[in-house]
């Protein structure tokens, strides 16, 4: 019996801690066991129960987040808003109170209209297309900057430098990751603003490019650390085999390590995207906050200088307008619906990243 337990312990799967053998399964021969007090046993059961509850707390919180955000948005779909009263007196009354005119909320308009006029007196419109385009374009431009630099830095830190320099760089990158987003926003508002105005001769420095540079700088640290992890996970035998064939470091990186670590690097990029989409304060302060689709001029032709147009993102809209929307109003609920939308977007991005990482671990 005892040897069985031991071999099980010795040969058990390394990633998993085997179940502790139950008391009844103790070696035969019935040794006299010092009995523990009842309180100790109950206390232990209690603490194990608490540990289990804490263990599932993450699930509870994620469902809680979705539930409570959706709960505030839900009345949009179930409440029937009365059509504007036809008689003149009612119209006048409507104009007097400063609540925006109510009309039935339409999900189609919400997703596909580019008109965002939440406080209009005559015709309220909640279309988030321009905001979605704003979020996606800032994120895409940020990734265009961040991906080459982030992955390049990951390769440099992991493969090309060693010893002291490597440790120093890793610490600096860790510290950069800790800079609060409101400080980034402040940097965008003051330093970047002036730099963009002077370098590109742009009329305003608070625009898509400014936000994208900030988001790029913010998501580089996470890309470097995860990219470096995935490069480190490539077995050393690959490197040794390459070096034995006379490959230089660069050939090794290009032909062996990048293909071998490509899933990890993809996950790094995805997590960077997730961070950029969800970023609030920096884009709120730095992107100029105008609800426009930056790719087209007023006459409908393509605007080649779209990166110098101000844009507005989903996150910044919530942050800027929630304070002004009165509790329970349609505007307020629409902002929560944007929250649901954001939650869904980042959920999908993170899920994909997790599946990509899990794919590596299995292999």
């Amino acid at each position: 019996m005892a040897t069985e337990v031991q071999t099980e312990l010795a040969s058990g799967k390394p990633a998993q801690i085997p179940d502790r053998p139950e008391r009844g399964a103790a070696p035969s021969g019935k040794p006299k066991r010092a009995s523990r007090g009842l309180t100790a046993i109950i206390g232990e059961k209690l603490i194990e129960f608490i540990i289990r509850v804490c263990g599932i707390s993450a699930i509870i919180f994620v469902f809680g987040i979705f539930f409570f955000v959706f709960r505030e948005a839900a009345p949009l779909f179930f409440e029937k808003h009365k059509a504007p009263a036809p008689d003149a007196a009612a119209v006048e009354r409507h104009a007097d109170d400063h609540s925006p005119a109510h009309k039935q909320f339409s999900l189609k308009e919400f997703l596909f209209s580019k008109e965002w006029y939440p406080t209009s007196q005559s015709n309220v419109r909640y279309g988030v297309r321009a905001l979605i385009v704003g979020t996606l374009s800032v994120t895409a431009l940020a990734m265009l900057i961040a991906v080459p630099f982030g992955l390049g830095a990951a390769v440099f830190v992991s493969e090309f430098c060693g010893g002291k320099l490597k440790e120093t760089l890793k610490i600096i990158i860790e510290l950069l990751a800790a800079i609060p987003s409101v400080v980034w926003g402040f940097i965008g508002l003051t330093v970047m603003n002036q730099i963009i105005q002077n370098v590109f001769n742009a009329p305003i420095g608070l625009n898509m490019l400014n936000g994208a540079i900030l988001l790029a700088l913010m998501s580089v640290p996470i890309m470097v650390s995860i990219g470096e992890d995935s490069l480190k996970a490539v077995p050393d035998s690959y490197r040794e085999a390459g070096l034995a064939l006379g490959a230089t470091k660069w050939q090794l990186v290009y032909r062996v390590l990048l293909p071998a670590a490509k899933n990890g690097l993809l996950a790094a990029v995805l997590l960077g995207v997730g961070r950029a989409v969800g970023e609030t304060m920096a884009v709120l302060m730095a992107t100029g906050h105008a609800v426009t689709i930056p790719f087209f001029k007023t006459d409908g032709s393509f605007n080649p200088w779209f990166m110098f147009e101000p844009v507005r993102t989903l996150t910044a809209t919530i942050a800027a307008e929630l304070g002004e929307a009165s509790e329970g109003s349609q505007h307020y609920r629409v902002l929560f619906l944007i929250g649901v939308l954001l939650f869904s977007i980042t959920f999908v991005v993170n899920l994909t990243a997790d599946m990509v990482i899990r794919g590596i671990k299995k292999r």
Partner: protein
């Protein structure tokens, strides 16, 4: 000696080129940032002094220091730490010591990853919907701290878990073999041996909490509150408070006519706090790791 063929020379040229390009890419990310941080310090320097930290903002937040905001941040960090640290550590204990490799464990993992990825403004909406309105806490330090605690939980879980996983399995086996129960093993062997990772996680959580703005905007932080300077207990759980991050946002975007160095000085105080806490985490990690016996 081998003679260098043109092919070999080309190979080495490329090697040097690649190395310098990757090096430049790293430098291009890091150096401008260090310059920017230096610039912030340079601009804020005229105001930075001990008095700046210990006096309240006055004159429509155009003069004075940051005391009430700093104290608010300390309160928010402290309360959210008290909530998040036990839950986070115990959750990590569950994931590493109790959970079996099955679909439920995968689900928990997925939840932790997603909790880390939810945008901060969605956490703010959650805090507003769940704590401020549903639980009836109103906009208060407690509601804001709960929101921050849930938001930063993954930080503690991830680093505690890593620390627990690095305790060798034979430590546990030895303990079980002398008859200890699972919980006794965890308390006497596993937790003491992974204290460095747990501490690092807790400190990182503090730094993350101190810098967040969006989650507290609608759950408990106010633009301005007048409190007596020097009193550490000027706030209470049920009241609203100021916070450094929020203060920086307010002074930068809402207050007109503030002297130019003021927002820079606030930014430097916030940045300094966060970086100091992070540096502490690094020092603790390095020190305790050097004392590890295995």
């Amino acid at each position: 000696m081998f003679a260098e063929t043109p092919l070999v020379r080309k190979k080495h040229r490329r090697e040097i080129l690649a190395k310098s390009i990757f090096g430049l890419m790293s430098a291009a990310m890091i150096i401008p940032l260090l310059l920017i941080i230096g610039y912030l310090v340079y601009q804020g320097a005229p105001l930075l002094s001990w008095d700046f930290l210990t006096t309240n903002p006055v004159g429509g937040m155009r003069r004075g220091g940051v005391w009430s905001a700093l104290l608010g941040t300390i309160w928010l960090v402290g309360v959210s730490l008290l909530i998040a640290a036990p839950i986070g550590v115990l959750a990590a204990v569950y994931l590493n010591e109790y959970a079996k490799e099955n679909w439920f464990n995968r689900l928990i993992n997925l939840a932790v990853i997603n909790l880390a990825g939810v945008p901060s403004i969605v956490h703010a909406l959650f805090g507003l919907g769940a704590f401020v309105l549903f639980a009836g806490m109103g906009r208060s330090v407690l509601a804001a701290s709960l929101t921050l605690a849930i938001m930063t939980l993954p930080v503690i879980i991830a680093s505690t878990r890593e620390a627990l996983a690095s305790v060798p399995r034979f430590f546990r086996e030895a303990c079980w073999n002398v008859g200890a129960t699972r919980w006794q093993t965890i308390r006497r062997i596993v937790l003491p041996n992974s204290i460095s990772g747990i501490l690092t996680g807790v400190i990182l959580q503090v730094s993350r909490t101190a810098g967040e703005t969006a989650p507290i905007m609608f759950t408990g932080a106010v633009f301005f509150r007048n409190i007596p300077a020097g009193d550490l207990f000027a706030y209470s759980l049920k009241e609203q408070c100021m916070a450094l991050s929020m203060h920086l946002y307010t002074v930068t975007t809402q207050v007109t006519g503030a002297p130019k160095p003021l927002p820079y000085a606030i930014a430097v105080v916030l940045l300094g706090t966060v970086l100091f806490v992070n540096a502490t985490a690094i020092v603790v990690r390095v020190y305790l790791r050097s004392r590890k016996k295995w």
